[in-house]
Amino acid sequence: MGREVSESCVDGVVMEMVAAYCGRFYAAKPELAAGRIEAIGFQVGHQLSERYTMERPRFTDHLEAIKFICKDFWSELFKKQIDNLKTNHRGTFVLQDNHFRWLTRVSLDPAVESTDATENDSGSLGDSAAQTTSMLLYFPCGLIRGALTNLGIPCAVSADMSNLPACELNHSSP
C-alpha cells in the first residue's frame, strides 16, 4: 500500500471515463451516464475513506467526519484543503474549493484552433461545454458521498460551478 501514480494518469483516467460514459455508453442519455459516473465515484470514495482513516483515531461525531473530508481526505486527493466550509446547522454543508484541481486542465471549445488552453475562460461558457464540465463533477460528488457513507453519514452531494475554477459542493444529510 502507498504506491503512487503520476497526476496526469489520474487526470487522463477521469477524463476518459467521463468521455466514454457520455460519448459511447450512454450517448443519448446523459442522466444515466451521470448516475454511473457517480456510482463509480461512490465506490472509490468508500474504499479510499477506509484506507485514509486507518492511521488516525475514529470520529466522535458528524462534524469531525466532515472536517476530515475537508482537510485530510481532500489533501490526499488534491494536495490542498477545502478553502471554505459553510453550514446552515440543519444538516447542509457547503464545501468550496477555489481552485479545483480536476477542472484546471479543462479546455473549452474544441472548434477554436488554440492549442494551449490550460485555464478556463470563465466568462463565456457555452451550454454544451458547461454540460460536459458538469459531467466531470459527478465523480467527485460520488467520491464525497462514498466517503461519508462509509463514515456513517448518508447524504446527497451536488456540485455547483458558477465561477470556474472554483467549485462548490453541497452535501445535505436527510
Binding site: M1, H46, S49, E50, R51, P57, R58, T60, L151
Partner: protein, 138 residues
C-alpha cells in the same frame, strides 16, 4: 510464550452487523460444539461493543466482555467494522498488533473493486494470512 493449547475465535462483523469472516485460530484441537459456543459469545458481546464504540475515539477497545475464563477483545475501524477476538487471557500488545495487521489485510480486500463491501470475505489468501498472523501474535 508457553506452548499451551490456546482457544481463540476471530470474527469480522461489518457495520450492518453481518459477520463477514470468521475463523477458529487457536492452537487447541477443534471441537464442533465449542466453535458454536464461541460464535454465540462473540455475537452476544456486540451490544456491549456498540455502547463502548461511541464512548471513545480509539480503535482498539481492549477487552469488552468476559465469559468464564474467555475474554472478548474488540478493534473498531472508522467505517464501523468490528474485529472481534475471543481468547483466553493473552498479552494485550500481541492482540493489538494482531488487529493492526489484520486491519491492513482487510483494507487490501476492501480496495479490490470486485469486492462488495459488506459481503463475506472468501479469499483463501486472506484466510491463510490471518491464520499465520494468529500463530505469530497469539
Amino acid at each position: 510464550m508457553s506452548d499451551m493449547a490456546s482457544t481463540a475465535c476471530f470474527v469480522i462483523v461489518s457495520k450492518n452487523d453481518i459477520p463477514i469472516y470468521d475463523a477458529e485460530v487457536g492452537s487447541a484441537p477443534k471441537k464442533e460444539d465449542q466453535a458454536y459456543q464461541h460464535q454465540f459469545i462473540l455475537h452476544a458481546a456486540l451490544d456491549v461493543v456498540q455502547d463502548l464504540a461511541w464512548a471513545t475515539s480509539a480503535m482498539f477497545l481492549k477487552s469488552v466482555d468476559r465469559f468464564n475464563d474467555l475474554v472478548v477483545s474488540v478493534y473498531v475501524t472508522a467505517g464501523h467494522t468490528r474485529f472481534m477476538l475471543l481468547h483466553d487471557s493473552r498479552s494485550e500488545d500481541g492482540i493489538k498488533s494482531f488487529f493492526q495487521e489484520v486491519h491492513e489485510l482487510y483494507i487490501k480486500i476492501f480496495l479490490n473493486p470486485l469486492y462488495l463491501p459488506g459481503s463475506r470475505i472468501t479469499s483463501s489468501h486472506f484466510n491463510t494470512k490471518v491464520r499465520a498472523l494468529a500463530r505469530k501474535y497469539l
